[in-house]
């Protein structure tokens, strides 16, 4: 059985390398490791604008051109599943990619900012700072699951998760809220009409020994395998 290709969107950074200030597009090793562990093949997806993503001020960023959009689409077409990872900043391409993935029913796992992008793309509403400052940053917390695909995947009412966010989603748009922490903050959303479209506010890739996180990745990879098999079938039929 062929392994599914999983696209991971890169973040932008300009760490010092050999004394130089170089803009780089990176993937945290944890995402890479998690995809491999559960049977996927990870590739890194970079944005396509001809600009310095790190240094260009927000006001000067121009909208994506048709060519830049088409280049993104060519990259996504290689993928059977897609991870929208945690990061501190989002660009137009985050939302463009999310829309394309949703329209084409490509299995998508949104993590932290990735989940927030899903919600904002649907509700068009900005994020709100977390109600009690620092209460969701670098902490563990208990999350209660509500009926839905995610709860069926995890098989429990309640899980303890990590937490690394300072902002929260208040309006999930068309998505169903399927998990909240005890203080009421939205911790997971899903679209149960899609093959796999779940966003979690925590970081499952940081602890794949945990049962719930394992099950999330297994379900994601399973969906990606299904997508891959359907893709093969239509190639043969046409």
């Amino acid at each position: 059985m062929e392994k599914p290709i999983i696209g991971i969107l890169t973040g932008v950074s300009s760490e010092h390398y050999m004394g130089k200030d170089l803009t780089q597009f990176y993937v945290f090793n944890d995402y890479n490791t998690a995809v491999l562990k559960f049977g996927g093949l990870p590739i890194a997806i970079m944005p396509t604008k001809q600009m310095d993503y790190k240094k260009t001020p927000k006001e000067e960023i121009t909208p994506l051109t048709e060519e830049e959009k088409n280049n993104l689409i060519e990259m996504i077409k290689l993928c059977d599943g897609f991870i929208m990872p945690g990061e501190t900043r989002s660009f137009e391409h985050n939302y463009f990619i999310d829309s394309y993935l949703k329209e084409n029913n490509i299995p998508t796992l949104g993590i932290c900012l990735g989940m927030q992008v899903m919600a904002i793309n649907s509700s068009k509403e900005k994020l709100t700072p977390v109600n009690v400052e620092g209460s969701h940053f670098r902490k563990m917390h208990t999350v209660k699951l509500e009926d839905g695909v995610l709860k069926n995947i995890i098989g429990k009412d309640e899980v303890d998760t990590n937490s690394y966010h300072s902002y929260m989603v208040v309006n999930p748009g068309e998505y169903k809220v399927v998990a909240r922490s005890i203080d009421g903050v939205i911790e997971a959303i899903e679209d149960d009409k899609s093959l796999f479209r779940i966003g979690v506010q925590w970081h499952p890739e940081k602890d794949t020994l945990d049962d719930a996180n394992k099950k999330i990745f297994e379900a994601f990879i399973d969906a990606s395998i299904k997508y891959h098999e359907n893709k093969q079938k239509t190639n043969y039929d046409s």
Partner: protein
């Protein structure tokens, strides 16, 4: 026709907050896009993490890791071996794959040294570079490179002597069969696989001055043209 997919071999890095990532440098992404290719990041299929300044000793690729890497490589029409600190067995695996399937390959800085090393040494992975001792400054400078008459690069650039940037402290060993360009102190600067259309390593960084340097643009344009050729005439007939 669809644009060719260029796999950038991702490099492990340690960010300042001690989180290990793999990344692509912006110049590589931007240059590939500008010359008409689609860049994707080839993420390592084996665990490579930093705990401290230098990367953990990485073991040999096992059979599953090799299979996974090979599947990633099959997506691509060309490979770019980036600059960095160290190369790994996966670099040698990728070079071997490229040679076997005649995939166009561009090695930059460290990538050039890995390619030169592969062609010259019995142990394809062992780092056989040595520190430069010379009157010519190779670190954060510019200098002349003299190309050999039979080099592909001379044919492409139509000049025996070109001016290049330079950001390295180490150099590959000489080997007249494959080294096709030298600095005036004898330091190898260009390696070319004999008889191949485009499997080239450059000790300098053409992606850094793509916008201002005709030679850099010609190199990337030729690389992408060769990836198109591979996609149209070699890949599909296997």
């Amino acid at each position: 026709m669809q644009r060719p997919i260029i796999g950038i071999v991702e490099r492990p890095e340690l960010q300042t907050d001690s989180v290990s990532v793999t990344c692509s440098y912006d110049g590589n992404r931007a240059s590939i896009l500008k010359s008409g290719g689609i860049p994707i990041g080839i993420l390592p299929t084996q665990p490579i993490s930093y705990f401290g300044k230098s990367p953990v000793k990485v073991g040999e690729l096992n059979i599953f890791e090799k299979e996974a890497l090979e599947t990633q490589l099959q997506l691509c029409d060309g490979f770019l071996l980036q600059g960095g600190n160290t190369w790994y067995e996966y670099d040698a695996f990728i070079i071997e794959y490229a040679l076997k399937h005649q995939v166009p390959l561009l090695g930059i800085c460290l990538g050039m040294q890995a390619l030169a090393n592969y062609l010259t040494n019995e142990n394809k992975v062992l780092d056989k570079t040595y520190k430069i001792e010379s009157d010519i400054n190779h670190n954060n400078s510019e200098h002349i490179v003299r190309l050999t008459r039979d080099s592909i690069l001379y044919g492409l650039l139509m000049q025996r002597e070109i001016k290049v940037n330079s950001y390295h402290n180490y150099r590959a060993h000489d080997n007249e069969a494959v080294i096709k360009g030298y600095a005036l102190d004898g330091t190898p600067e260009v390696v070319e696989v004999p008889g191949e259309r485009f499997m080239i390593g450059l000790q300098w960084h053409p992606e850094k001055d793509y916008d201002t340097n005709d030679d850099s643009r010609k190199i990337f344009n030729r690389f992408i043209d060769e990836a198109v050729y591979y996609k149209r005439f070699i890949k599909e007939y296997k």
